[in-house]
Protein backbone atom coordinates (compact mmCIF):
# COMPACT_ATOMS: atom_id res chain seq x y z
CA UNK A 1 0.00 0.00 0.00
CA UNK A 2 1.05 3.56 -0.82
CA UNK A 3 1.51 6.34 1.72
CA UNK A 4 0.34 9.78 0.62
CA UNK A 5 1.70 13.05 1.97
CA UNK A 6 -1.69 13.87 3.56
CA UNK A 7 -1.78 10.53 5.33
CA UNK A 8 1.79 11.04 6.54
CA UNK A 9 0.83 14.39 8.03
CA UNK A 10 -2.21 12.96 9.82
CA UNK A 11 -0.07 10.07 11.02
CA UNK A 12 2.50 12.40 12.56
CA UNK A 13 -0.11 14.62 14.17
CA UNK A 14 -1.80 11.59 15.71
CA UNK A 15 1.61 10.41 16.97
CA UNK A 16 2.17 13.83 18.54
CA UNK A 17 -1.19 13.56 20.27
CA UNK A 18 -0.51 10.10 21.68
CA UNK A 19 2.97 11.06 22.89
CA UNK A 20 1.63 14.19 24.52
CA UNK A 21 -1.18 12.29 26.24
CA UNK A 22 1.28 9.69 27.53
CA UNK A 23 4.20 11.95 28.30
CA UNK A 24 4.24 11.20 32.02
CA UNK A 25 3.92 7.45 31.45
CA UNK A 26 6.83 7.39 28.98
CA UNK A 27 9.04 9.27 31.41
CA UNK A 28 8.02 6.96 34.22
CA UNK A 29 9.03 3.94 32.15
CA UNK A 30 12.35 5.66 31.43
CA UNK A 31 12.87 6.48 35.11
CA UNK A 32 12.84 2.79 35.93
CA UNK A 33 15.68 1.83 33.61
CA UNK A 34 17.07 5.12 32.28
CA UNK A 35 17.05 8.79 33.15
CA UNK A 36 13.36 9.56 33.18
CA UNK A 37 13.13 11.95 30.25
CA UNK A 38 11.77 9.94 27.33
CA UNK A 39 8.29 11.45 27.69
CA UNK A 40 9.47 15.04 27.78
CA UNK A 41 12.01 14.37 25.02
CA UNK A 42 9.39 12.92 22.69
CA UNK A 43 6.76 15.49 23.60
CA UNK A 44 9.20 18.29 22.77
CA UNK A 45 10.23 16.51 19.57
CA UNK A 46 6.75 15.75 18.26
CA UNK A 47 5.61 19.26 19.16
CA UNK A 48 8.40 20.51 16.88
CA UNK A 49 7.25 18.07 14.20
CA UNK A 50 3.75 19.51 14.44
CA UNK A 51 5.11 23.06 14.09
CA UNK A 52 7.25 22.13 11.09
CA UNK A 53 4.41 20.36 9.32
CA UNK A 54 2.49 23.61 9.26
CA UNK A 55 5.20 25.09 7.05
CA UNK A 56 5.36 22.23 4.53
CA UNK A 57 3.58 23.71 1.54
CA UNK A 58 4.76 21.23 -1.09
CA UNK A 59 2.53 18.26 -1.80
CA UNK A 60 5.39 15.88 -1.27
CA UNK A 61 5.79 12.83 0.95
CA UNK A 62 9.55 13.31 0.95
CA UNK A 63 9.19 16.88 2.25
CA UNK A 64 6.82 15.81 5.05
CA UNK A 65 9.13 13.02 6.21
CA UNK A 66 12.22 15.19 5.95
CA UNK A 67 10.72 18.01 7.99
CA UNK A 68 9.70 15.50 10.64
CA UNK A 69 13.24 14.13 10.69
CA UNK A 70 14.77 17.59 11.07
CA UNK A 71 12.40 18.47 13.88
CA UNK A 72 13.14 15.25 15.77
CA UNK A 73 16.89 15.55 15.28
CA UNK A 74 16.86 19.16 16.46
CA UNK A 75 14.52 19.02 19.38
CA UNK A 76 14.34 15.65 21.14
CA UNK A 77 17.65 15.99 22.99
CA UNK A 78 17.98 12.33 24.04
CA UNK A 79 19.21 9.23 22.21
CA UNK A 80 15.75 8.88 20.70
CA UNK A 81 16.36 12.14 18.78
CA UNK A 82 19.08 10.89 16.43
CA UNK A 83 17.34 7.50 16.32
CA UNK A 84 13.83 8.63 15.30
CA UNK A 85 15.53 11.36 13.27
CA UNK A 86 17.58 8.82 11.34
CA UNK A 87 14.49 6.69 10.80
CA UNK A 88 12.52 9.55 9.25
CA UNK A 89 15.53 10.77 7.28
CA UNK A 90 15.95 7.29 5.79
CA UNK A 91 12.24 7.19 5.00
CA UNK A 92 12.46 10.59 3.32
CA UNK A 93 15.32 9.39 1.14
CA UNK A 94 13.42 6.24 0.22
CA UNK A 95 10.34 8.32 -0.59
CA UNK A 96 12.23 9.72 -3.58
CA UNK A 97 11.94 6.26 -5.15
CA UNK A 98 8.75 4.78 -3.74
CA UNK A 99 5.84 5.50 -1.41
CA UNK A 100 5.20 1.84 -0.63
CA UNK A 101 4.54 1.73 3.11
CA UNK A 102 6.39 -1.43 4.16
CA UNK A 103 9.44 -0.36 2.13
CA UNK A 104 9.41 3.02 3.85
CA UNK A 105 9.13 1.58 7.37
CA UNK A 106 11.85 -0.93 6.63
CA UNK A 107 14.11 1.93 5.53
CA UNK A 108 13.30 3.62 8.84
CA UNK A 109 14.25 0.50 10.74
CA UNK A 110 17.53 0.31 8.87
CA UNK A 111 18.17 3.96 9.70
CA UNK A 112 17.75 3.20 13.41
CA UNK A 113 20.03 0.18 13.22
CA UNK A 114 22.68 2.17 11.38
CA UNK A 115 22.58 5.01 13.88
CA UNK A 116 22.44 3.07 17.12
CA UNK A 117 24.37 -0.08 16.23
CA UNK A 118 21.73 -2.13 18.04
CA UNK A 119 19.79 -5.10 16.75
CA UNK A 120 16.73 -7.19 17.50
CA UNK A 121 16.73 -8.46 21.09
CA UNK A 122 18.75 -5.58 22.58
CA UNK A 123 15.59 -4.22 24.21
CA UNK A 124 15.26 -1.01 22.23
CA UNK A 125 12.77 0.58 19.89
CA UNK A 126 14.08 -1.87 17.27
CA UNK A 127 12.10 -4.56 19.02
CA UNK A 128 8.98 -2.66 17.99
CA UNK A 129 10.10 -1.56 14.53
CA UNK A 130 11.21 -5.04 13.46
CA UNK A 131 7.97 -6.98 14.09
CA UNK A 132 5.95 -4.07 12.69
CA UNK A 133 8.04 -4.11 9.51
CA UNK A 134 7.52 -7.88 9.16
CA UNK A 135 3.78 -7.52 9.69
CA UNK A 136 3.57 -4.76 7.07
CA UNK A 137 5.36 -6.95 4.58
CA UNK A 138 2.62 -9.52 5.14
CA UNK A 139 -0.10 -6.86 4.99
CA UNK A 140 -1.05 -7.76 8.50
CA UNK A 141 -0.21 -4.91 10.85
CA UNK A 142 -2.79 -4.66 13.65
CA UNK A 143 -2.87 -3.68 17.33
CA UNK A 144 -2.10 -7.33 18.04
CA UNK A 145 1.32 -6.97 16.44
CA UNK A 146 2.09 -4.01 18.69
CA UNK A 147 0.76 -5.60 21.87
CA UNK A 148 2.74 -8.74 21.13
CA UNK A 149 5.92 -6.74 20.54
CA UNK A 150 5.46 -5.03 23.91
CA UNK A 151 5.00 -8.40 25.60
CA UNK A 152 8.11 -9.69 23.88
CA UNK A 153 10.30 -6.72 24.81
CA UNK A 154 9.63 -7.03 28.55
CA UNK A 155 11.78 -10.06 29.45
CA UNK A 156 14.74 -8.89 27.37
CA UNK A 157 17.94 -7.64 28.94
CA UNK A 158 18.95 -4.17 27.73
CA UNK A 159 22.20 -4.13 25.78
CA UNK A 160 22.18 -0.62 24.33
CA UNK A 161 21.53 2.88 25.61
CA UNK A 162 21.24 3.93 29.23
CA UNK A 163 19.21 0.89 30.26
CA UNK A 164 22.21 -1.31 29.39
CA UNK A 165 23.94 0.01 32.54
CA UNK A 166 21.50 -1.84 34.76
CA UNK A 167 21.63 -4.95 32.55
CA UNK A 168 19.68 -7.70 34.28
CA UNK A 169 17.60 -5.25 36.30
CA UNK A 170 16.03 -4.09 33.06
CA UNK A 171 14.47 -7.55 32.62
CA UNK A 172 10.71 -7.42 33.15
CA UNK A 173 10.48 -3.71 32.35
CA UNK A 174 9.04 -2.15 29.22
CA UNK A 175 11.47 -0.23 27.03
CA UNK A 176 10.28 3.39 26.75
CA UNK A 177 11.43 3.72 23.14
CA UNK A 178 9.56 0.56 22.17
CA UNK A 179 6.44 1.97 23.81
CA UNK A 180 6.69 5.35 22.04
CA UNK A 181 7.31 3.49 18.77
CA UNK A 182 4.18 1.50 19.55
CA UNK A 183 2.26 4.82 19.60
CA UNK A 184 3.78 5.68 16.25
CA UNK A 185 2.44 2.49 14.73
CA UNK A 186 -0.95 2.65 16.43
CA UNK A 187 -1.22 6.11 14.89
CA UNK A 188 -0.30 4.57 11.54
CA UNK A 189 -3.01 1.97 11.90
CA UNK A 190 -5.59 4.60 12.84
CA UNK A 191 -4.74 7.13 10.13
CA UNK A 192 -3.54 5.01 7.25
CA UNK A 193 -4.55 1.37 7.59
CA UNK A 194 -7.99 1.69 9.16
Amino acid sequence: MELTHEQAKRWLLNFHQKVTDNKAYLSELDQAIGDGDHGSNMARGTEAVKDKLGSVTEDSLEAVLKQAAMALISKVGGASGPLYGSAFMAMAKTAKETSELSTLIEAGLDGIKHRGKADVGDKTMIDMWQPVTSALHEDDLTEVTIDQALEDVKPLKAKKGRASYVGERSMGALDPGAVSSGYLFTALIEEVLA
Binding site: Q31, G34, D35, G36, D37, R162, Y165, V166, R169
Partner: protein
Protein backbone atom coordinates in the same frame (compact mmCIF):
# COMPACT_ATOMS: atom_id res chain seq x y z
CA UNK B 1 24.47 0.59 54.12
CA UNK B 2 24.19 1.47 50.43
CA UNK B 3 27.09 3.13 48.68
CA UNK B 4 27.33 6.89 48.27
CA UNK B 5 29.15 8.64 45.46
CA UNK B 6 31.57 11.56 45.67
CA UNK B 7 32.63 13.44 42.57
CA UNK B 8 35.81 15.54 42.73
CA UNK B 9 36.78 17.69 39.79
CA UNK B 10 39.30 20.44 39.12
CA UNK B 11 36.51 22.76 37.98
CA UNK B 12 33.43 23.80 39.95
CA UNK B 13 31.13 23.66 36.93
CA UNK B 14 32.28 20.19 35.95
CA UNK B 15 31.55 18.82 39.42
CA UNK B 16 28.16 20.47 39.55
CA UNK B 17 27.28 19.38 36.00
CA UNK B 18 28.32 15.79 36.65
CA UNK B 19 26.14 15.79 39.74
CA UNK B 20 23.24 16.95 37.59
CA UNK B 21 23.91 14.23 35.02
CA UNK B 22 24.14 11.47 37.61
CA UNK B 23 21.06 12.52 39.55
CA UNK B 24 18.87 12.00 36.48
CA UNK B 25 19.59 8.29 36.42
CA UNK B 26 20.09 7.87 40.15
CA UNK B 27 17.67 10.11 42.03
CA UNK B 28 17.84 7.97 45.18
CA UNK B 29 21.63 7.73 45.43
CA UNK B 30 23.46 10.14 47.72
CA UNK B 31 25.82 12.00 45.42
CA UNK B 32 27.95 14.87 46.69
CA UNK B 33 30.54 16.85 44.80
CA UNK B 34 33.49 19.19 45.07
CA UNK B 35 35.02 21.18 42.25
CA UNK B 36 37.85 23.70 41.96
CA UNK B 37 39.62 25.61 44.68
CA UNK B 38 38.08 27.58 47.54
CA UNK B 39 38.14 30.67 45.31
CA UNK B 40 36.54 29.01 42.30
CA UNK B 41 39.85 28.61 40.47
CA UNK B 42 40.87 25.46 38.62
CA UNK B 43 42.36 23.05 41.16
CA UNK B 44 41.26 21.10 44.16
CA UNK B 45 40.29 22.06 47.67
CA UNK B 46 40.80 20.01 50.80
CA UNK B 47 37.91 21.80 52.50
CA UNK B 48 35.45 21.27 49.65
CA UNK B 49 36.37 17.61 49.20
CA UNK B 50 36.16 17.06 52.94
CA UNK B 51 32.71 18.65 52.98
CA UNK B 52 31.56 16.46 50.07
CA UNK B 53 32.68 13.37 51.95
CA UNK B 54 31.21 14.40 55.30
CA UNK B 55 27.93 15.63 53.85
CA UNK B 56 27.24 12.47 51.89
CA UNK B 57 24.40 10.50 53.52
CA UNK B 58 26.38 7.30 53.22
CA UNK B 59 29.36 6.18 55.28
CA UNK B 60 30.69 3.95 52.50
CA UNK B 61 31.80 6.02 49.57
CA UNK B 62 33.14 5.54 46.08
CA UNK B 63 35.01 8.64 44.97
CA UNK B 64 35.71 9.59 41.38
CA UNK B 65 38.16 12.30 40.25
CA UNK B 66 39.17 13.84 36.94
CA UNK B 67 42.93 14.36 37.20
CA UNK B 68 45.65 13.07 39.48
CA UNK B 69 45.99 16.02 41.81
CA UNK B 70 42.35 15.77 42.87
CA UNK B 71 43.18 12.17 43.72
CA UNK B 72 45.94 13.28 46.07
CA UNK B 73 43.58 15.63 47.86
CA UNK B 74 40.98 12.86 48.07
CA UNK B 75 43.63 10.61 49.61
CA UNK B 76 44.54 13.19 52.25
CA UNK B 77 40.91 13.59 53.25
CA UNK B 78 40.35 9.84 53.22
CA UNK B 79 43.21 9.41 55.68
CA UNK B 80 41.49 11.81 58.08
CA UNK B 81 37.83 10.81 57.86
CA UNK B 82 36.09 8.00 59.74
CA UNK B 83 34.14 7.05 56.64
CA UNK B 84 35.02 4.09 54.48
CA UNK B 85 36.35 5.79 51.37
CA UNK B 86 37.43 4.05 48.18
CA UNK B 87 39.01 6.11 45.43
CA UNK B 88 38.18 4.66 42.03
CA UNK B 89 40.75 4.99 39.25
CA UNK B 90 38.11 4.72 36.54
CA UNK B 91 37.23 7.04 33.69
CA UNK B 92 35.72 9.93 35.63
CA UNK B 93 32.26 10.58 34.19
CA UNK B 94 31.77 7.12 32.68
CA UNK B 95 32.76 5.43 35.93
CA UNK B 96 30.65 7.64 38.14
CA UNK B 97 27.66 7.19 35.81
CA UNK B 98 28.04 3.43 35.82
CA UNK B 99 28.35 3.26 39.60
CA UNK B 100 25.33 5.50 40.16
CA UNK B 101 23.12 3.60 37.72
CA UNK B 102 24.04 0.31 39.38
CA UNK B 103 23.51 1.59 42.93
CA UNK B 104 20.14 2.96 41.87
CA UNK B 105 19.39 -0.42 40.31
CA UNK B 106 20.09 -2.12 43.63
CA UNK B 107 23.27 -3.92 42.63
CA UNK B 108 25.74 -5.10 45.27
CA UNK B 109 29.19 -3.69 45.75
CA UNK B 110 30.97 -6.71 44.24
CA UNK B 111 28.87 -6.47 41.08
CA UNK B 112 29.55 -2.76 40.85
CA UNK B 113 33.28 -3.42 41.22
CA UNK B 114 33.13 -5.87 38.32
CA UNK B 115 31.41 -3.31 36.10
CA UNK B 116 33.94 -0.63 37.01
CA UNK B 117 36.95 -2.82 36.31
CA UNK B 118 37.00 -2.33 32.50
CA UNK B 119 36.66 1.43 33.01
CA UNK B 120 39.94 1.72 34.92
CA UNK B 121 42.21 3.92 32.87
CA UNK B 122 44.47 5.60 35.39
Amino acid sequence: MTLGIVVASHVDHIAEGVHRLLKESAPDVSITYAGGTDDGEVGSSYALIEAAIEQNDSDTLYCFYDLGSAKMTLEMVSEMTDKDVTIIDAAFIEGAYTACALIQGGYKQAEIDDQLEPLKVK
